[in-house]
Each structure stands twice: as C-alpha cells, then as structure tokens.
C-alpha cells in the first residue's frame, strides 16, 4: 500500500476579496509524480504557495509525512525537505550562479559539510553543463532558460523529499524540456523524490506523471491516472487541442 506523503484537506485561500482556492482536498503518495493541471488563473500556483508556506491557508489543513504543517513558516517547511521551485524562476539575480547553488544547500549546509555540497554541485553541473560554464556569471544576466535551469538546480541542491515544480519547462527549448522532465522522472526513480508538478505542457507532463488533478476556478474538477486523463475528451478539448501533436 502506498502511504501519502502530502495531504491537503479542505484548503481555502483568498487574496483579499478574491477567492483563489475553494475547499481543495487531494493527496500525493510517496514516490509518485502527480501533475496539477488547469487553465491560467485556476489557482495552481496558489496551491503550491500554500503548501510551501509562502501563503497561509484561510481554512483547512496541510499534512506532510503525517505531520501538520499548515501554520509552519516557509523556512521551517524547507527544512523538512519539502522544496518549491517557484513560478518565474526567482533566482537571486545579483548573486553568482554558484552562490545561488550554495544557497540551495543552506538548510543542510552544516550537516552535510562543504565536501558533500561541492559534490552535489558537480552533480547538478552534470545535468546542466551550461551552468558550470557560467558559474561566476550573475543569476540575473542568464538567459531566460538558463535561469529556469538554475532554479531547478538550486532546488535539487536542497535535497528534496517532495519537490513542488511550478511550470519548470517555462521558456525552455524543446530539447531541454524533454531533458528536464526526464530528469524529474529519474529523480523519482533513482532518488525516490516525490514530485508535484504544474505544467502547461499537459501532454508531456502527463506522460511522466502517474496521476493528475485538474483544477478550475479554485476547485479540483477532475482527477485520475495519467492515461485516463490523457484520453479524457474534455481534457483533450481544453488543453491538448484536437490532435495531440
């Protein structure tokens, strides 16, 4: 039996008068890749921000590894290895690439020691060689796609148990998109990282995901295995167009 690593219970959130989440519940099991789908403004990003502690739910509860984290500060949640790669990259623009990566390891810096972290950095450099080439360039001067790579690399440095990815393929070249998504799969397969993923690239993301949830106007309107979702006529209509290219 799979155990749930993340559980969202009846969570609501409002930006002032704007209700962005309306009693949402779902869960993610250990070792899964789960895709969160939905049109722009459906509330996907808001869900991830609530989970990661950047926003506090107006109602409801969130459990991570059976422990309630609803009221925990974002920085404490990170220490539990629940890591968010935020929308729009959010790299530290005036810090060098390498410093960005070091900061990813901030919460376990003392525990892991310098050596291990340097090894980790080599590992992510292996994944994104361009970052190695640019390791002393300032984050803000990287190209859009390079910044996205840096954001993902930085999250990997945090040694996630559960990785929340908010549109990781945004602005990446097709070749890299494939590589990144493949790497996500690899992370799960080899390092047992659980992944909750938001993607506009629905077909690609459902291909690596085990399950998916579909959101609309702050609620979950559909859920199911990837295959089923991929073949769901409504989903095809809304996200994939008539022909899956």
């Amino acid at each position: 039996m799979t155990s749930s690593i993340l559980e969202i219970k009846d969570v609501s959130y409002s930006y002032g008068p704007i209700k962005a989440l309306d009693h949402i519940s779902f869960e993610v099991n250990k070792g899964e890749i789960v895709a969160l789908l939905g049109a722009n403004g459906a509330g996907k990003t808001t869900v991830l921000k609530n989970i990661s502690g950047l926003l506090k739910p107006t109602a409801g509860q969130i459990f991570f590894e059976n422990e309630e984290i609803t009221r925990l500060e974002a920085e404490k949640i990170v220490e539990k290895r629940l890591i968010l790669v935020p929308e729009h990259r959010q790299v530290f623009s005036t810090l060098s690439v390498i410093d960005n990566l070091y900061l990813g390891a901030f919460h376990h810096y003392k525990k892991s020691g310098k050596k291990e972290i340097e090894q980790d950095i080599e590992k992510v450099f292996g994944l994104f060689p361009i970052l190695k080439e640019r390791k002393d360039q300032l984050g803000g001067t990287l190209s859009g796609g390079q910044q996205q790579m840096l954001a993902i690399a930085r999250a990997i440095m945090s040694k996630p148990e559960l990785l929340l990815l908010d549109e990781p393929s945004l602005g990446l070249a097709p070749l890299i998109v494939k590589e990144v998504l493949n790497y996500v799969k690899q992370l799960r397969d080899e390092f047992e990282v659980t992944v909750l993923l938001i993607e506009q690239n629905v077909s690609a993301s459902l291909k690596i995901a085990d399950r998916g949830y579909v959101m609309s106007h702050g609620s979950i309107i559909k859920q199911g295995d990837s295959i089923n979702l991929l073949n769901d006529p409504e989903i095809k209509e809304a996200f994939l167009g008539h022909t899956v290219s």
Partner: protein, 292 residues
C-alpha cells in the same frame, strides 16, 4: 609639507569614523535594502552609554563591552518593534520611518542625558605621537585600528561565509530566500543588531575625541550615509574607501581652500564622483538587461 601630513592625518582619523558608520549602513542595506538613517543615533547611543557606564564606576573595559551589548540590544529591539511592523512599506517610507525613529531616539536621549556635551577619557594614555612632523594622538590610531578590524571582519562575513550569502539572498529576493530556509526576519534582526554594534563601536572610539552629546548622531549619520554611497552601496570595502576619502577631502579642502566651505567642497566632490561613477566607487552596476 608638515601641514599637509597633518591635514592628511586629521582627514584619515575623521574619515575612519565615517567609514565605521558607513559600514553600519552597508550591513543593514546588504540584508534588507533599508537605508537606516537612525544609524547615527546608534553612534550617539554608543558614546553616551559608555559615558554613563563609566560614570557609574564600571571598569573601563567592561563598560566598553557592555556598551556594545546594550546598543546591539537596542538595534535588535528597533528592528523587532519598528522595522518589522512596517511590512508593506516601500524603501522611501522606510527611510522616513528611520528618520522618525532617529528623531524619537534623539528626543529621548535629550531627556535622559540633557543637552550638554560630555567627556570620556581616551582608551590609553593620550600623549600625542610625532609622525613626520605631524602630531597624531593614540586615540586616532585606535580609531583607525578599529576601523580596519571592523572592515576585515565584515568583509569576511559578507563575502566568504554562508551567512553572508544568506544576507545577500534576503536583499535580492526575500521570498525566494525563504524557500532556501533562510529566514529574512532573522537575518534582518541580525543585521540591525550587527549594525547597531558597529554604531556603538564608532561611538566608543570617537567618544574621547569629540565630546559626545545627544545630537551628535545627525552629522555622523549623514556623513556615514554619504560615505557608503560614495563607496558604492552594499560594498564594505567601498564604505571604507568612501569614508576615508570624504574625511581626507574635507580636511584638505579646509586646509588648502577654506574651512568655511569645506562641506561644500567635500559634497561637491561627492557629486562629481557620482557623475563619473553613477554607482559609487566600488558599487556594482544594476544587473544588465539579460533576462528581459
């Protein structure tokens, strides 16, 4: 010839003080992007607290340490009680907030200590030394020693340690910093305490040179601010160079041109330098347009 050495030494002494104050600005700015115009008041609190502790008969060295601790606590309290409460404020409002706080602190100091200047004994015997025909007091040497010490420690802290990286991360992107388990709040508290400590040190070393009074913070705050901008905001070595330069220009201006317009000269030079280097001497240019 002797004159010019004397001018230089005077300039370096006073410049070192500006530099320490400027380092306080840098510390807070590099974490929170706040320009804390109450920084001068920390200097004043350093000087006046030291005076009061000495008057209570507390031994010199203990009073020295105690002053730093007390002022750091005040800095920490200031962050906790004031800065943190003003969450939604933009940098400009924060400037006004720190100005308001400066007025507040100064007002209270005026009530506690009165308006008269006080006197503090120098660290060590203060018989002037003779350097190349110019005279320099041991206290001036202390000022420079402390300045160098402070900048070295600070430079190491900001540039070489993980804490320094965390400091800078908070200043560029606090929300993303939280996602790295860095608490911008803690960093902010820390930076205010640290910079209050620097202010206290400035107050301590300067107390025997100028006679401290409740309102000495205004001028030192402005000069420190100027020095930190001149050097390039956020750069610790820049703050030192800025401070020394400001002090020396002031002194040479007073010496060779006119003491009446020495401030006009020094600020005129600041203006010129900024025109040539719009981001200060060691300041980094804004990040390029890379990610547009």
């Amino acid at each position: 010839m002797n004159d010019s050495i004397q001018f230089l030494i005077s300039g370096l002494t006073i410049g070192s003080i500006y530099a320490i104050v400027a380092l306080g600005f840098v510390t807070i700015y590099s974490v929170t992007k706040v320009i804390n115009l109450a920084q001068g008041e920390f200097v004043m609190l350093g000087g006046m607290t030291f005076f009061s502790l000495l008057k209570l008969g507390i031994p010199y060295f203990i009073a020295f340490l105690l002053t730093i601790v007390i002022v750091m606590a005040i800095g920490w309290l200031f962050e906790w009680a004031v800065i943190r409460k003003a969450k939604g404020a933009d940098p400009l409002s924060l400037i006004i907030l720190t100005i308001g706080t400066a007025i507040f602190i100064r007002g209270i100091a005026g009530v506690i200590w009165g308006k008269n200047s006080v006197k503090v004994e120098p660290f060590t015997n203060n018989e002037p030394l003779n350097v190349l025909g110019a005279s320099i007091t041991p206290q001036s040497v202390w000022v420079m020693v402390f300045m160098l010490l402070v900048v070295m420690v600070l430079y190491f802290l900001i540039e070489k340690t993980m804490l320094g990286k965390a400091f800078r991360a908070c200043s560029v992107n606090p929300a993303a910093a939280r996602l790295m388990a860095i608490s911008p709040r803690k960093m902010s508290s820390l930076s205010f305490a640290l910079s209050a400590g620097l202010g206290a040190i400035a107050g301590l070393v300067i107390a025997p040179i100028m006679f401290p009074s409740y309102d000495m913070g205004i001028m030192l705050g402005i000069k420190g601010f100027s020095a930190s901008i001149l050097g390039g905001l956020g750069s610790a070595p820049g703050a030192v160079i800025g401070g020394l330069l400001l002090g020396v220009i002031e002194s040479l201006g007073a010496g060779y041109i006119s003491s009446g317009i020495k401030d006009a000269i020094s600020f005129g030079v600041v203006l010129m330098i900024l025109l040539i280097r719009p981001f200060g001497l060691l300041g980094e240019k804004n990040v390029g347009k890379g990610g547009l």
